[in-house]
């Protein structure tokens, strides 16, 4: 019994030649700090946060007629009209299709319809349908919050 205790003590204290990898701990702490996505009340700023969070270059939300609702890259009229036209053509040929992915000049254009809008996403690598859906849902949520706060602001002014 005593021998076993002594062996266990020796194993734990004397033979334990390990030490904490402190530089790696700092490295990992820094890694997470670079992936903080804090949303504010500023809609434009939130769009930039969303872009970083979902690792995409830009996105565009249009109505089904191609008119722009939200854009992170200027007015985006051409891409909006092209995207919705392409999606409506594919939907007419394959009504149960969920999303459209196009690779062009090393970039991916992804089209995803949700709540009578078309989400057009541009990124360096393709997003899976799951990721695309998550981005569209989050962006749609942000748009709704923004719409409500805009309405509140207008009411307060009135």
């Amino acid at each position: 019994m005593f021998k076993r205790m002594l062996r266990s003590f020796a194993g734990k204290v004397l033979a334990d030649d390990t030490s904490q990898p402190l530089s790696q701990i700092d490295f990992l702490r820094d890694f997470l700090s670079r992936h903080k996505y804090v949303f504010t009340t500023d809609f434009e700023e939130n769009l930039m946060v969303l872009k970083r969070k979902h690792l995409v270059d830009s996105f565009l939300v249009t109505n089904l007629d191609g008119s722009i609702v939200v854009s992170t890259e200027g007015d985006g009229h051409t891409e909006g009209i092209m995207g919705t036209a392409m999606l409506s053509y594919i939907k007419s040929e394959m009504p149960d299709s969920e999303s459209v992915l196009i690779k062009r000049q090393g970039h991916w254009f992804m089209l995803f319809p949700l709540n009578k809008k078309v989400f057009i996403v541009k990124a360096g690598s393709e997003l899976s349908n799951i990721e695309l859906k998550a981005l569209a849902f989050e962006l749609d949520g942000l748009m709704q919050v923004n719409k409500q706060s805009e309405k509140k602001r207008v009411n307060q002014v009135a």
């Binding site: 334990d16 990898p21 799951i130």
Partner: protein, 261 residues
């Protein structure tokens, strides 16, 4: 409505499947209706840990649209219910894991907890499981590679809209070089739900003629006790200590002879 919790880690070999199986049983002991789903459609082995490897209808069949989800549910240990994944490589290739969210939503009203055993990595199967869950419980080890992968998985889970509720630290040996519980909590910015010690009894549970999770075989070993505490933390319910069935002298003697065969 069930709480759908994905048990994920990023890194392989952290003990996700063992934690999922034992945590499910610990939750069932707290009178919760529990369903375990082996969401690791490529490398399924939750059924082996539960000792339920011969299940004819699996999640593969459900995801392929060839079986109804209720036909793939089996009775596991201590009232836990279980959907296994198949071991077939052919079916794995044909399976559309994106359908998992639809499968889970069909079962939402029937259980208090649905635990998804998520594969390692951040490939499509993992994304499907994370997006099918509302919450994610991370499992890691007190070493930097495991924590680095846990960090990445946490970020991916958040991106997919799953709330990361906490972390379970597994294989704790209390060596000087292990990253401490507080450091892990700070690094992952998550509460630590449990500190499961390295326990040889966990390994021994796989080395029986009839495999059973450690919490069933040795409910009073240190790992089982900590997993029971994790279940209490998740539910907010107090758990009663479960004592292991002590075998008598003759039973032990008999088992010695059995081993020599």
């Amino acid at each position: 409505m069930a709480r759908v919790i994905a048990v994920a880690s990023g890194k392989g070999g952290t003990g996700k499947t063992t934690i999922t199986a034992n945590l499910g049983i610990a939750l069932a002991r707290l009178k919760q209706k529990v369903l375990l789903i082996d969401a690791d459609v490529a490398m399924a082995n939750l059924s082996l840990i539960l000792g339920m490897q011969s299940s004819p209808i699996t999640l593969h069949d459900v995801l392929l649209g060839e079986a109804q989800v209720h036909d793939a549910i089996y009775d596991g240990p201590e009232g836990v219910r279980f959907i296994p994944s198949g071991l077939s490589l052919d079916n794995y290739k044909r399976v559309d894991s994106e359908r998992l969210a639809g499968v889970v939503s069909q079962l939402n009203d029937e259980y208090d907890f649905i635990l998804l055993d998520v594969a390692a990595g951040i490939e499509k199967n993992v994304l499907s499981a994370l997006s099918a869950s509302q919450e994610t419980l991370m499992v890691t080890m007190p070493t930097s590679p495991a924590i680095a992968d846990a960090l990445k998985t946490k970020i991916v889970a958040q991106r997919l809209g799953s709330k990361v509720i906490g972390v379970v630290i597994n294989f704790v040996m209390s060596e000087k070089g292990e990253i401490s519980k507080n450091d892990i909590a700070n690094m992952l910015e998550l509460p630590v739900y449990g500190n499961v010690p390295y326990d040889p009894e966990v390994r021994k549970s796989f080395m029986q003629e009839k495999v059973a999770p450690v919490i069933v075989r040795k409910p009073d070993c240190p790992a089982s006790e900590e997993i029971t505490r994790i279940a209490s933390r998740i539910t907010g319910l107090k758990s009663e200590p479960v004592k292991a069935k002590k075998s008598g002298f003759f039973e032990q003697l008999l088992s010695l002879f059995k081993k020599k065969k």
